[in-house]
Symmetry: C2
Subunit: 337 residues, 2 copies
DNA sequence: CTGAAAGCGCTTACAG
DNA sequence: CTGAAAGCGCTTACAG
């Protein structure tokens, strides 16, 4: 009962059909009916069905040097931005025959290193990933192993080395636009809550630029995570400033912004009456909470990343130079401003 | 530049070190220093480092008949309940050397069939999954292929066949408890919004039982998804009932409940003043929206599923009978009641 | 038209 | 102490 009924192989079919294993392989894989006489062909197909034959994925992988698997490397799968990305990725990958391997790096250098180690073992044919702690240069090793990489977020142009593509929205422009919106609404004391790494960096850049251009003093609160908890902590710090506290707070992502909203409400403040709060990403919750934010088209980003990766995996795919693919963002105004 | 620098293999190291490939394998894999003389050993290890050797995962998989991969099959990764589960799964799987493959079935029979097909190709050593359309009996084929399965949700006891484990909370008891809470708060007209499949079924059972015991008439609104959109649609239907409309609405999961909240607010109703709303799962957003709900410990469920699977994959693991592992739920009261 | 053979990169008995 | 060989399950030239 607990017995391992070994999975049937082509050899088993060949034995039953009285042909060679190679013939079985040909019948099962090649469309051209020409080679094998129809009766033999049909006998083989019938037996394969009866016996419950399934091709061995590991064997095919070794033989064909293709895993038919794409890896997706994310810092935190529980941040709702990423499941949307994964879904877009998978929706494009699955019809093309690719499975999706997920690595949650937890946003740590060790996690990212571990993910790269696995990639280098040939677990996937390509990867799309968001790295906080590695730059394109660090990733060249991986890409050199003939493993196409699509990075989320813009990358500096590299010369030489294997192509590394990227898909992204213009984070600097988006956070600049959001900052301008706040200024237009009359805000002068605008703080931004960021983490010291990852997407926070470019987003802080757009914010800082616009603030200085407007003659306003940027106020960055740096926490160590892109989470709601980080937002709560930072917001409490801001509120402790008393009378000088900002009238508007920009979270580097929606999770941070939502945490900030929570902390503001706990402190008895109304949004946007006492303080305006905005975020970045447009995760589903943002809509429910009325959070004004920057919409990133995560499904499209995932789908585009998958398409780019799959193109690279075509025979001629490695010929073209690195591509930087930019999608449009959108400022979504809701009730939190 | 675009050249494929083929990945180095044990053969390359052997060539450089002047030993056989088998010796390289032994040095790289076996702890016992005994067999190979220290200088040879060190030379091999040094060369392996210099040459940038990484074991080929596909080759190991074929040879060892183990993929070191666990599959996770979910109906909708964008439902925030599942990323938490995935995270718990991965946090336990990764240290044990297992990668996690994600399949989003979209809750459709085709999606589930495709996932099972992939499993049968030997892409993973085991799987934890939530199936809407297949029952344990349908899954026996997969399990018979010596692929351990951990189902999310209680399964009817099966006799014979390979063991299929399950991890779950008592959904019937949980929805019964939630329904009792609403009754205790004085509600009499309590409706439940469900999908016609998946976890909705057992949850509707607990609700119906308690309602009838209390002499109240159950009112089930059946939609075809466990999404916020489904909640919006169903809530609009309920509100169209006018004066007889329910004073409390129970969503079969939090997404549905959140949709219902949205529709209620759009209709100008206050929560819980005009209508109480409760959900099921306790996704992160529930906390932010003040939704009273049933807490499922998703991280623990994921971790427990991973541990159960990994135990099954041990040499003696297939000996024990099927296990049904129940975790405790918790009613989390917030402001929506 | 079909079979025998090589080989993908490993691990593991088995010889010497 | 180390090498030669077999084999995991496939695919693909290459012979006949």
């Amino acid at each position: 009962m607990q017995h391992r009924s070994a999975r049937p192989t082509q050899k088993d079919i060949a034995l039953a059909a009285g042909v060679s294993q190679a013939t079985v392989s040909i019948v099962l894989n090649r469309a051209e009916t020409s080679a094998v006489p129809v009766p033999t062909r049909e006998r083989i197909l019938r037996l394969a069905g009866e016996i419950g034959y399934r091709p061995s994925h590991p064997a095919r992988t070794l033989r064909n040097a293709r895993t038919m698997t794409l890896a997706c490397i994310v810092p935190d799968i529980t941040n709702p931005f990423y499941p949307g990305l994964v879904r877009g990725l998978q929706a494009t990958a699955a019809p093309a025959g690719y499975a999706v391997l997920i690595y949650d790096t937890d946003g740590t250098p060790e996690g990212e290193r571990r993910a790269l180690g696995w990639l280098q073992q040939g677990r996937a044919d390509g990867a799309v990933g968001m790295f906080y702690h590695f730059r394109a240069a660090d990733l060249t090793d991986v890409a050199r192993g003939n493993l196409p990489l699509v990075l989320l977020g813009r990358q500096s142009v590299r010369r030489g080395g294997p192509p590394i593509d990227s898909v992204f929205i213009d984070n600097v422009a988006a956070s600049a636009a959001m900052t301008r919106l706040l200024i237009r609404r009359g805000h002068r004391r605008i703080a931004m809550i960021v983490a010291g790494f990852g997407p926070s960096q470019v987003r802080a850049e757009g914010y800082g630029k616009v603030m200085r251009e407007a003659g306003l003093a940027p106020q960055l609160i740096v926490d160590n995570a892109h989470s709601a908890e980080a937002g709560v902590r930072a917001m409490r710090t801001l509120l402790a400033q008393g009378g000088d506290r900002p009238t508007a707070v920009f979270g580097a992502n929606d999770m941070i912004a939502i945490g900030a909203m929570q902390a503001a409400r706990e402190a008895g403040l109304s949004i946007p009456g006492d303080v305006a709060i905005v975020g970045f990403d447009d995760i589903p919750t943002a809509n429910l909470l009325g959070l004004t934010t920057v919409r990133q088209p995560e499904l499209e980003l995932g789908a585009l990343a998958a398409r780019t990766l799959i193109e690279r995996l075509q025979p001629e795919g490695s010929r073209t130079a690195s591509r930087s693919l930019e999608l449009d963002f959108e400022i979504v105004e809701r009730s939190s401003v």
